[in-house]
C-alpha cells in the first residue's frame, strides 16, 4: 500500500509542507492569545489536533493517489451514510445538528465530506470523457452527487458548509467546462429553487444574518454586533497592531467566536496590517503551490483533486476573511489551519497530505516507467 521510494523524496513538496506548517504554527500562536484569558483550553486541544493532523498528513502523503481514485466511490458512499447518521443521531449545537460525539471528542463529518466530493468529481472526469465543454446530460452524475451531499448538509442546517459544497463542485465543473446553454439552465434552476427555499427552508436567524449584513449598525447588539466588533478589532489594529496578547477587543472578549470563525480578527488586532497582510500572502502562496502541483500532476484525476483542494482552501479563506472584514455575511466557515476545531484541522491536513502525495508522484522517470510495465 505505502511505497517508500527515494525518487519520491526527491519530488517532495517541501514548500507546501513549510507553508502549511508555518501557517498552522501562526494559527497556534494566535490561538494562544485568543484563549489566554479562558485558560488556554482550546489552545491545548488544538495542539493535539495539529499533531494528529500532521501524522495523518504524513500517512496520506505516502498513499498512492490511484488508491484514492479506486476507492473514491466507497469513500463517497461512506460519507453519505455518515451524513444520514448525523442527521438522525447527531448532537445539536446552536441550532445545527452537525456533530457526532464520541466521549470527549466531537466530530463534524461535513468537513471530511468536502474531500469525498472532490474525489468523486475528480474520478468522474478522469475516466473516459473527452475535454469539455460538456452538456447538462454529460455531467448529470456529479450534479447529482453534489445535490445529495448539499441536501443532507442544508438539512442540518449548516449554511456555510452547504455553500462551500456548491462552490467546490461549481469550481470543478466550470473548470472542466460547461456548455453555455447548460450553464444558463443550471442557473435558472438554482434561482427557481432559491425562492421557495428562502421562504420555507431558511431559518429566521439565517435570514437575519443575510439581511443585517447590509448594514450591521442597524442592530448593533443583534446579528450585526458580531460583524461590528470584528471590524472594530481589525481596524483598531492599525499598521502594526496592539501587540501580542494586548488586543483589547480579543482579550476582553468583544470578538465573537474569536477562537474559531473569527480567529483572524484577533491576529489583525494584535499584529496590525503588516501581520495580517503577511498572513494572507503566506496563504496565497500556499494556494499557488497547490495549483502548481495541479498543473504538473501526472494524470487528470490528480490534477482535479489538487485543483479541488486549492478551491477548498481558497473559498474557505475568501468567505472567512470576507466575513471577518465585514465584506460578507456571517456564515460559519473556518479558516483552514488557523481556526480552532479538530475536524477542520484534520480535513486541512488530509488535504495537504493528498496534495503532497500528488506532488511527490508528479513525474516518474520514463525509463523506469517502462521497466515497471515490463515487469508487470
Amino acid at each position: 500500500m505505502i511505497m517508500f521510494d527515494r525518487r519520491l523524496i526527491k519530488n517532495f513538496g517541501w514548500l507546501i509542507l513549510f507553508l502549511s506548517l508555518l501557517f498552522s504554527a501562526f494559527g497556534l500562536i494566535n490561538l494562544y492569545s485568543a484563549s489566554y484569558h479562558t485558560g488556554l483550553g482550546s489552545f491545548k486541544k488544538q495542539l493535539i489536533w495539529v499533531s494528529l493532523g500532521f501524522i495523518t498528513m504524513l500517512i496520506i502523503t505516502f498513499m498512492n493517489s490511484n488508491l484514492l481514485k479506486r476507492y473514491s466511490m466507497h469513500i463517497f458512499i461512506i460519507s453519505l451514510i455518515t451524513l444520514v447518521i448525523v442527521f438522525i443521531f447527531g448532537k445539536e449545537v446552536s441550532g445545527s445538528r452537525s456533530w457526532i460525539v464520541f466521549g470527549p471528542i466531537s466530530i463534524q463529518p461535513s468537513e471530511f465530506v468536502k474531500l469525498s466530493l472532490i474525489l468523486i468529481i475528480a474520478r468522474f472526469y478522469s475516466n473516459d470523457f473527452e475535454d469539455g465543454p460538456f452538456g447538462l446530460k454529460d455531467i448529470i452524475k456529479p450534479i447529482i452527487f453534489t445535490i445529495m451531499i448539499f441536501s443532507l448538509i442544508i438539512l442540518q442546517p449548516d449554511l456555510g458548509t452547504a455553500l462551500i459544497i456548491i462552490l467546490l463542485s461549481g469550481t470543478m465543473l466550470l473548470f472542466m467546462g460547461i456548455k453555455r446553454k447548460s450553464l444558463l439552465i443550471i442557473f435558472g434552476i438554482i434561482v427557481l429553487i432559491s425562492i421557495p427555499a428562502w421562504n420555507f427552508f431558511l431559518k429566521d436567524y439565517h435570514k437575519e444574518r443575510i439581511l443585517t449584513f447590509a448594514d450591521p449598525t442597524v442592530d448593533p447588539l443583534g446579528m450585526g454586533y458580531n460583524s461590528i466588533q470584528s471590524q472594530i478589532a481589525v481596524g483598531s489594529g492599525k499598521l502594526i497592531g496592539k501587540g501580542y496578547l494586548a488586543g483589547t477587543q480579543s482579550q476582553l472578549r468583544f470578538i465573537p467566536a474569536q477562537q474559531t470563525d473569527f480567529a483572524f480578527s484577533v491576529l489583525a488586532e494584535e499584529w496590525g496590517f503588516l501581520g495580517s497582510a503577511i498572513m494572507l500572502l503566506i496563504y496565497f502562496l500556499l494556494i499557488l503551490t497547490i495549483l502548481d502541483t495541479a498543473s504538473s500532476s501526472k494524470d487528470k484525476f490528480s490534477m482535479l483533486v489538487a485543483l479541488g483542494i486549492a478551491a477548498l482552501f481558497f473559498w474557505h479563506t475568501l468567505i472567512n476573511i470576507g466575513m471577518v472584514l465585514g465584506l460578507l455575511p456571517i456564515i460559519g466557515v473556518p479558516l483552514y489551519l488557523f481556526s480552532y476545531g479538530g475536524s477542520s484541522v484534520l480535513t486541512a491536513f488530509i488535504a495537504i497530505g493528498i496534495v503532497l502525495g500528488i506532488k511527490m508522484r508528479q513525474t516518474l522517470v520514463p525509463k523506469e516507467d517502462i521497466s515497471l510495465e515490463k515487469n508487470n
Partner: protein, 603 residues
C-alpha cells in the same frame, strides 16, 4: 497535465485578485479608518463612571443651613452592555412600577442615538426600590445605580427668591459656564445663578475597564491608558442674610404683596431680603412639571419676581429725602425756611393737592419731612427744577443698579432729555412738581431706597449692598471674602445730613409724625413714610390693584445707626399705617437678637 496549464494560470489570477481585494479591505479598515476604529475599541472597553460633585451649600451669616444637598439614587443604563432588553425591561418593570413597554421604548430610543452613551432611566428612586434593584443585580447587567445630588431646602420656601432655583442648562448656559457635562443642573436665578461657577464644583470621572459581558476587569491589563479625575465639591456660600430676620420678614409679608429689605448701614451687608409672593423651590428639584411652571409664570402676582431688586415703584414721599438734601445743598432753603401749606399748590391754573387737604399751616423743613407735607416740596421744586432733582437722584444711585450679586432693575430717573427721547415732548413744570414728591415718571427698587436710607444713616456713603459674606471650599478655607465698597460719597455737609436725620427721627417719634407707628420702646427709630399713587389709566375702579403702594424706610438706632430697612407693600394703602408697623416688628426682633432675648417665633 500540461494542457490545463493555461486554465490553472487563469485560476491563479482570479484567486490572486480576490486576495488583493482582501488586502485592500484590510488597508481600508486598518490604515484609512484605523484611528476611527481605535476610538471605537476604547469606547467599547472603558466604562465611564461619573461621580457627581456635590453642589456647594448655602448658609446664612451664622452658618445656619438654607440650601443643602441630598443624595438621589438614579438608575443608569449602559446600552452596549445590555444583553436582553426584553428580559431586563420586564424585571425592571416589576421593581420600579413602570410599564414594561415604556422602559423598553426609552432604552431602544436611547440605543438608537448611541449604544455607548449611558443614560439615566429613572431619577431619585426610593430606598426600597434601591434595595430591590441591588438584590437583583446579577440579572441586571448594564444597569447601575448612580448617586447624584439634589437640592434640599431645610427651611422650605425661605429665601427662595433670593437663592433661586436650578434647571437644565440651555445653550446660553453651556457657553457661559463652559459646561461639558449636560447631565447636570445649573443655577437659573438668584444666588444659584450668580455663583454658579463657585457652587458647581467638578464631577469626578472614574474609568473602569470592562469585558464584553460588562464585568469589570480586575487585572492590570490596559489600565495604563486610563486616567481618573477626582471629584471636586462645590464651594459653600455664606450669606450676609440673617435667617431669623429673613424668616420674620417673610412671615410679615404673608398674604401680602411686597418686599422687606434690611441692610447694615456701615457695611452694606443685606441681612434680610424678603419678597412676597414667592415660590416653593422643591418644585424644581426633580425638574418642574409643566403645569406647575405654567401656574408660576402665568400668575398675575409674579411669584418669581424678587421685588426687592426687580420690582420698580414710584418712591412716593420717601423721595423727599433726596429733594430736601438737594435744596439744602443748592441753598434754596435752610433749616429755618418756612412755607405755608393751605392744603394745595397752584401752578398756573393747575392745582396740586397736599395729601392733607386741610393743610399743614406753617411748616419748616423738619416738620415738612416728619408730617410729609407735599406743598413744602412743591414750593422748593419750582426753584430747584427737574435738572437738579434728576442730578441728585442719580447721585443717590437711583436710575442705575446697586451692584448687588443678583439681577436687578435700574429704575428710572426722568430728565428733560429722557422725556424728549421717549415722548418727543418738552418737560412740563407740573411734572417737576410731582417728581419732587416721588411721583410721576420716577421708578425705584426697594433696595435702592434701602441704600439711600443707609447713606443718610451712615453720614453720606452710598454702599454697595452685599449678599455674600464669604465663599469657602470643602476644607473650610475661604476662597472669597467680601469687603464693603463705597459706591459714592454724597456731596452734602454733615450739618445738612444731620438736619435730615433729625427730621426722620421726628417723623417716627413726634406726635404728628407720619411714621409714628414704627416707634419702639427700646430705642430711637428714624424713618420716612411713602404712599405712592399707582399710575393707572383713567379707569375708575375700586379694585385693589389701584390702591396706593405703602412705603416705609427707616434706620435704627438713630443715635448710632446699625441697620436700614425698607418695607414696601403693593397696593397696601398708606405707608404710615401699613408699612411702618411691619418695620417696627423687624426692628424689635433685631433688638431682641442683639440683646440676647431668645426668639421663639419661628413657627
Amino acid at each position: 497535465m500540461p494542457q490545463y496549464k493555461n486554465k490553472l494560470f487563469i485560476c491563479s489570477l482570479i484567486i490572486g485578485s480576490l486576495f488583493l481585494l482582501l488586502v485592500l479591505r484590510l488597508f481600508y479598515l486598518q490604515i484609512l479608518k484605523g484611528d476611527e476604529f481605535e476610538l471605537f475599541s476604547i469606547e467599547n472597553r472603558i466604562r465611564v463612571i461619573n461621580s457627581p460633585a456635590p453642589r456647594g451649600k448655602i448658609f446664612d451669616r451664622n452658618n445656619k443651613k438654607i440650601v443643602v444637598n441630598r443624595p438621589s439614587f438614579d438608575l443608569k443604563v449602559f446600552p452596549n452592555e445590555l444583553k436582553d432588553i426584553d428580559k431586563v425591561s420586564e424585571l425592571l418593570a416589576d421593581l420600579i412600577n413602570i410599564e414594561k413597554t415604556e422602559i423598553k421604548q426609552s432604552i431602544t430610543s436611547a440605543k438608537k442615538k448611541s449604544i455607548y452613551l449611558p443614560f439615566i432611566l429613572i431619577k431619585d428612586i426610593d430606598r426600597d426600590t434601591l434595595a430591590a434593584i441591588e438584590s437583583n443585580k446579577p440579572d441586571l447587567s448594564g444597569i447601575t445605580i448612580e448617586v447624584n445630588y439634589l437640592r434640599d431646602y431645610p427651611e422650605g420656601k425661605l429665601g427662595s427668591l433670593l437663592v433661586g432655583y436650578l434647571g437644565k442648562p440651555n445653550k446660553k448656559d453651556l457657553k457661559r459656564f463652559q459646561l461639558t457635562n449636560l447631565d447636570i443642573n445649573v443655577g437659573k436665578t438668584g444666588i444659584e445663578e450668580t455663583f454658579e461657577d463657585d457652587l458647581r464644583g467638578a464631577n469626578g470621572i472614574n474609568y473602569k475597564i470592562i469585558d464584553a459581558l460588562g464585568r469589570q476587569v480586575k487585572s492590570k491589563l490596559f489600565q495604563k491608558d486610563i486616567e481618573n479625575k477626582e471629584t471636586l465639591s462645590g464651594n459653600d456660600i455664606h450669606l450676609a442674610i440673617d435667617i431669623d430676620l429673613q424668616r420674620k420678614s417673610e412671615q410679615l409679608l404673608r398674604n401680602k404683596r411686597g418686599s422687606i429689605t434690611v441692610a447694615n448701614v456701615n457695611t452694606g451687608e443685606v441681612l434680610a431680603m424678603a419678597s412676597s409672593p414667592s415660590f416653593d423651590p422643591v418644585l424644581f428639584v426633580n425638574g418642574i412639571q409643566q403645569s406647575d411652571w405654567n401656574e408660576l409664570t402665568n400668575n398675575k402676582y409674579y411669584p418669581m419676581l424678587n421685588r426687592s431688586t426687580k420690582g420698580t415703584y414710584a418712591p412716593g414721599s420717601t423721595f423727599k429725602i433726596v429733594t430736601a438734601l438737594a435744596a439744602l445743598k443748592e441753598n434754596i432753603i435752610d433749616e429755618e425756611s418756612t412755607v405755608y401749606c393751605p392744603g394745595h399748590y397752584k401752578v398756573g391754573n393747575k392745582r396740586f393737592n397736599c395729601w392733607k387737604h386741610t393743610g399743614h399751616g406753617w411748616v419748616n423743613l423738619e416738620s415738612a419731612i416728619s408730617q410729609s407735607c407735599d406743598v413744602y416740596f412743591y414750593n422748593i421744586s419750582e426753584e430747584l427744577g427737574i435738572d437738579r432733582i434728576s442730578k441728585y437722584a442719580k447721585i443717590f444711585g437711583f436710575g442705575s443698579g446697586t451692584g448687588i450679586e443678583l439681577s436687578e432693575k435700574d429704575g428710572l430717573v426722568p430728565s428733560r432729555s429722557w422725556k424728549y427721547k421717549q415722548f418727543k415732548e418738552p418737560w412740563y413744570k407740573g411734572e417737576t412738581i410731582v417728581t419732587s414728591i416721588g411721583q410721576g415718571f420716577l421708578n425705584v427698587t426697594p433696595l435702592q431706597i434701602t441704600m439711600m436710607t443707609a447713606a443718610v444713616a451712615n453720614g453720606g456713603n452710598i454702599l454697595k449692598p452685599i449678599l455674600i459674606k464669604r465663599i469657602s471650599d470643602l476644607d473650610g478655607k475661604n476662597t472669597m471674602v467680601s469687603s464693603s465698597e463705597i459706591i459714592s460719597i454724597l456731596p452734602f455737609d454733615e450739618t445738612q445730613i444731620k438736619i435730615i436725620q433729625n427730621s426722620l427721627i421726628s417723623a417716627v417719634n413726634e406726635k404728628a409724625g407720619t411714621g409714628k407707628r414704627a416707634k419702639v420702646k427700646h430705642g430711637t427709630v428714624a424713618g420716612k413714610t411713602g404712599t405712592a399713587q399707582v399710575i393707572s389709566t383713567k379707569t375708575k375702579s375700586k379694585k385693589d390693584i389701584y390702591k396706593d403702594h405703602a412705603w416705609f424706610t427707616a434706620y435704627y438706632p438713630a443715635e448710632n445707626p446699625e441697620i436700614a430697612l425698607t418695607v414696601l407693600i403693593e397696593n397696601g394703602g398708606s405707608g404710615g399705617s401699613v408699612a411702618a408697623p411691619l418695620a417696627k416688628d423687624i426692628i424689635d426682633l433685631y433688638f431682641e437678637q442683639k440683646n440676647g432675648v431668645i426668639q421663639n417665633d419661628n413657627v
